[in-house]
C-alpha cells in the first residue's frame, strides 16, 4: 500500500514534501516518519529528540485530522493516507 507524506516549512526544506512511499500493512505513524526522516540528519533532529520521540511542538495530521503525539506510535497508517508533519503555525 502507498501513503503520501507532506512536510511543511522548515521540515519541507530539510526533508522534501509530497513523498509517496510504499509501506507494509500495519505500519505505525511514528515509525513511518522516523524511517523517512532518517535520510537527513538535520531533518531528523528538527522533528525527533534523541529518544526518537517527536519534539513536543511538532504537529501531526492524518488525512487533515490532528493526531496527538502520544497516540502516533500506536496509530496505523492506511492505504491512500495523506500524512502531514509540520512545525508550529505562524500565519496571519
Amino acid at each position: 500500500m502507498t501513503v503520501k507524506i507532506r512536510f511543511f516549512a522548515r521540515f519541507r526544506e530539510l526533508l522534501g514534501t509530497d513523498i509517496v512511499t510504499d509501506v507494509a500493512a500495519g505500519t505505525m505513524f511514528t515509525h513511518l516518519i522516523l524511517t523517512i526522516a532518517q535520510k537527513n540528519s538535520a531533518g531528523y533532529a528538527a522533528i525527533f529528540d534523541e529518544n526518537g520521540t517527536f519534539h513536543e511542538f511538532v504537529i501531526l495530521m492524518q488525512n487533515g485530522r490532528r493526531i496527538e503525539i502520544a497516540d502516533a506510535a500506536k496509530t496505523q497508517v492506511a492505504d491512500g493516507d495523506e500524512i502531514a508533519v509540520f512545525p508550529p503555525v505562524a500565519g496571519g
Partner: protein, 139 residues
C-alpha cells in the same frame, strides 16, 4: 469568500459586497509585510486544511459576534515589503461586534491555521517562529 491564494485582493470590491442588509460597520484588517530589515516574505500553507480551518473560524465568529459577512483571504507566495498578505473583512450591525469579530479572526488564524512565513534577507532566511503548544486550533 474564504481563500488561500497568490493573487492580490480587490479590497474595494470586497467592502462593497460586505454591506449586507443591516450593516452599520465594516472593519478591514490588512496585514502587510513589515520592513524588519528583510527583502521579502515567503508564505506557505497546507492549503486544503488551512481553508477548512478558516471556514471553521468564520463560522465561529459569525455565531459568537452575529457578523453579517466575512471575507478571509490569506495570500501565499513571495512578497516584497509593503505588500498585503492577509485581508479580513467583517460586517456587523454595530461597531462593537465588528471590531471584536475581526480581532477574534486574526487571533484564531495566528493560533491555529497551518500557514508559515519565512523572512528573506540578503544573507538567507529565517522561519518566523510559531506559537508552541498551540498548533492547529481545531483538533
Amino acid at each position: 469568500m474564504i481563500a488561500i491564494q497568490t493573487a492580490d485582493v480587490d479590497i474595494g470590491a470586497l467592502m462593497t459586497a460586505a454591506k449586507k442588509p443591516g450593516t452599520g460597520a465594516v472593519i478591514v484588517f490588512d496585514g502587510v509585510v513589515r520592513d524588519d530589515g528583510i527583502t521579502e516574505m515567503e508564505l506557505e500553507a497546507y492549503e486544503e486544511v488551512a481553508v477548512k480551518e478558516l471556514e471553521k473560524i468564520a463560522d465561529d465568529a459569525t455565531r459568537q459576534f452575529g457578523l453579517l459577512h466575512i471575507d478571509i483571504i490569506h495570500r501565499i507566495g513571495r512578497f516584497p515589503v509593503g505588500e498585503t498578505i492577509l485581508i479580513i473583512v467583517v460586517s456587523a450591525g454595530h461597531r462593537k461586534e465588528a471590531y471584536a469579530g475581526s480581532r477574534f479572526i486574526i487571533e484564531a488564524i495566528k493560533a491555529g491555521v497551518p500557514i508559515w512565513k519565512k523572512e528573506l534577507t540578503k544573507d538567507g532566511g529565517r522561519w518566523v517562529p510559531g506559537d508552541h503548544g498551540h498548533g492547529t486550533g481545531h483538533r
